[in-house]
Amino acid sequence: MRTFKKGGIHPPENKITADIGIEILPTPDIVTILLSQHLGKPAKPVVKKKQKVKKGQLIAEADGFISAHIHATTSGMVKSIDERVSSPAGQFSQAVVIESDGQEEWADGLNIDIDYESLSREEKLRKIQDAGIVGMGGAGFPAHVKLNPPPEKKVDTFILNGAECEPFLTTDHRLMLEKPEEILKGLDIAASFFDKDIKVYIGIEANKADAIKIMEERTQGTRFEVVPLKAKFPQGCEKQLINTVTGRVLAEGQLPFDVGCLVHNVATIYAIYEAVAKNKPLIERVFTVSGMEINSRKNLRATLGTKITDIVDYCGGVTDEINQVIVGGPMMGKAQFTFDVPITKTTSGILFINNRGLERSRERACIRCGKCVEVCPQGLQPWIMTDLARLNQFELLPAYGLNDCMECGSCTFVCPANRDIVHWIKYAKVMNTRQKR
């Protein structure tokens, strides 16, 4: 079975929710829609307090090239526009708070069937841009920018990322099982932006045998090829997936289209289908609720702006042992300091865990075992970067590939000295950016 060349680990999979169907979480009375749910500049609000809005109506406009539109996720009245709401990414962002009227009334011309096959490339791209779609695997890069690379970059390979290598998460897995037709149509739409002879691959980790089977059945006789991948973290990272499927290697600073590739995540492709074929902006998403400290574990489809408190209530509350709430997976997710955080376009999972054991173990000196070097999928030297960062020698790190590190956490996972390698690397990145200013 195919896998990427360098490094990688195999953390316990814990895909507890793999067999549980997607459940719809009712829209709460109040939704808090963050205006920064993507990479790039936050969107600018175009609605006022007390204004009535319909579901899917534009409430904030993209600000600049790398930015994305934000839409009302339910119908009702704008209760307030708050300046500092904590986001699951650990920052503060402006947010539009909408009080739902319970009608779920769509704005005109949205959520309808469209004969999209006759649309031109520009019209389809426009729809994707208008729908505010961003990379839903976690990066949040605006999809219309990614689908429209500079003309001098020839893209010959399109990869659907169904690896979902993070433990616990089963979002893409469930989507592939429950919406295979829609995903393949979305893939068709996305591939239509490129040359007719573009190669289209569907990469799925082998631990999702049922999804591989379904996708293989549905792609019989089409130009799509399903590629089963060895279950190994971080198989779902763009660079590793490209390496696995095509053998190509991205150098530091290179983007996928520099090596002729484009990768989109399953959830994003599904959103693209809904935007183009149904005129539906991105106002809801599927995510996994898991971990040992929540009373029922589910795959949920929820309105963006639903708070974690609402989700906890719906899932029967948390246990007394909980001490961490993670948005994302356990390898690359973010720990929250409060339950009072709304979900966004990039929320692929929420984990409720008890990690007190980890908290108590001390960071020791590096014993130079070399395991971090062995597992680094980017072939870096995490140990020396950690040593230098601890000595505040941040400017020395880029020479060893600091910016080539995507913070997958494999090094920290294996470190017997319990060193917070990723933490130090991230810290060094922040300090270097600060010094440049």
Binding site: Q324, M332, E359, R364, I367, C369, V373, A399, E407, T412
Partner: protein, 322 residues
């Protein structure tokens, strides 16, 4: 309790760990040393066990005292002091007076390890520092090798010692089989190549040793001594004899592979192993001491920061060129 009043811990990803720890690694190494200790007890009698216990306990006590003096968290039970103690006992003759064993533990833990900053910061292999310390301080006691299966700790020279002082004829009747099994004079743990290989196999299976170092080490010694054997077999001992006698096996698999004091990267490891092997060969054939494993590893330990720096500079250069 509502979600509002709960305290959440904010920490950095990843939120899962492999469960590997310094303790786990160290206790596995200790386990891998048990065959060699069993061989020592078998060949040199029960006193071997007392030497081992003295060495282990004194290492733990010294580490505990230093932790207290430096006002640091207790590291005396993380297993590294135990491994140091076990290895130290395997590096001395079974008849060494107990107070000298304790002195050796002091040299290893206090001087070679803790004065440099503790586990992870020591430049030189603590056990080898202690062995050389003892060898220079008490040359007579440190070369009084116990004859295997002797009733009252009769001592004699080791095969390498015989070779150095009395020449090739003195070792003519020592069979390779005896050398391999360990039925010869020598320090407690170094005589039985078999016991060492069993332990090394466990470490290799667990992924705790990188084979590049021991293999280049042993191969270099073998080829170097083999070259001279080919030139004049009437003057030089065979490479197989050199391979199986003295501390080569123990040194190559358990000392030179010590993570903290060996290079991180492949090229450095190969140069390190080659240097150890070459120096061992030179000291054995032309040096004043019959055995050179400890000295050669210590000398190469000193070069490790340089080797690492060289490898890192090459990496940085490669990245820039890209």
């Amino acid at each position: 309790m509502t979600t509002q009043t709960r305290q959440l811990t904010v920490s950095h990803a990843p939120f899962v760990r492999s469960g590997d720890s310094i303790e786990k690694v160290m206790y596995t190494v200790a386990l891998a040393l048990l065959p060699a200790i069993a061989a020592a007890i078998y060949y040199f009698g029960l006193r071997s066990l007392w030497v081992t216990l003295t060495s282990v306990i004194s290492c733990i006590v010294f580490e505990f005292l230093i932790n207290k003096i430096r006002k640091k968290d207790l590291t005396c039970f993380d297993g590294s002091a135990i491994v140091t103690g076990l290895l130290l006992s395997l590096n001395v003759p079974a008849g060494l007076p107990f107070w000298m064993v304790i002195f050796g533990s002091f040299a290893a833990i206090v001087i070679a390890k803790e004065l440099f900053g503790g586990l992870g910061y020591n430049i030189f292999n603590p056990v080898l520092v202690a062995r050389v310390f003892l060898l220079i301080s008490f040359p007579a006691e440190m070369t009084a090798w116990v004859v295997p299966h002797s009733v009252d700790m009769v001592t004699a020279a080791s095969p390498l010692g015989l070779l150095k002082t009395e020449g090739l004829s003195a070792i003519a009747n020592i069979s390779y089989w005896k050398l391999f099994m360990g039925e010869i004079g020598g320090s407690m743990g170094e005589t039985s190549a078999l016991a060492i290989l069993i332990g090394a196999l466990l470490l290799y299976a667990k992924g705790y040793i990188k084979l590049k170092i021991p293999l280049t080490f042993i191969a270099t010694t073998f080829l170097f001594t083999g070259l001279f054997y080919l030139i004049d077999p009437s003057k030089y001992a065979s490479p197989v004899f050199h391979l199986l006698s003295g501390g080569l096996m123990l040194g190559a698999f358990f000392m030179a592979t010590d993570w903290v004091t060996s290079p991180m990267l492949a090229r450095g490891q190969i140069i390190f192993g080659f240097g150890c092997g070459l120096l061992t060969g030179i000291i054995r054939l032309f040096g004043g001491y019959p055995e050179g494993v400890a000295f050669s590893i210590l000398i190469m330990n000193a070069l490790v920061p340089l080797l690492d720096k060289w490898d890192l500079n090459s990496i940085a250069k490669g990245r820039r060129a890209h």
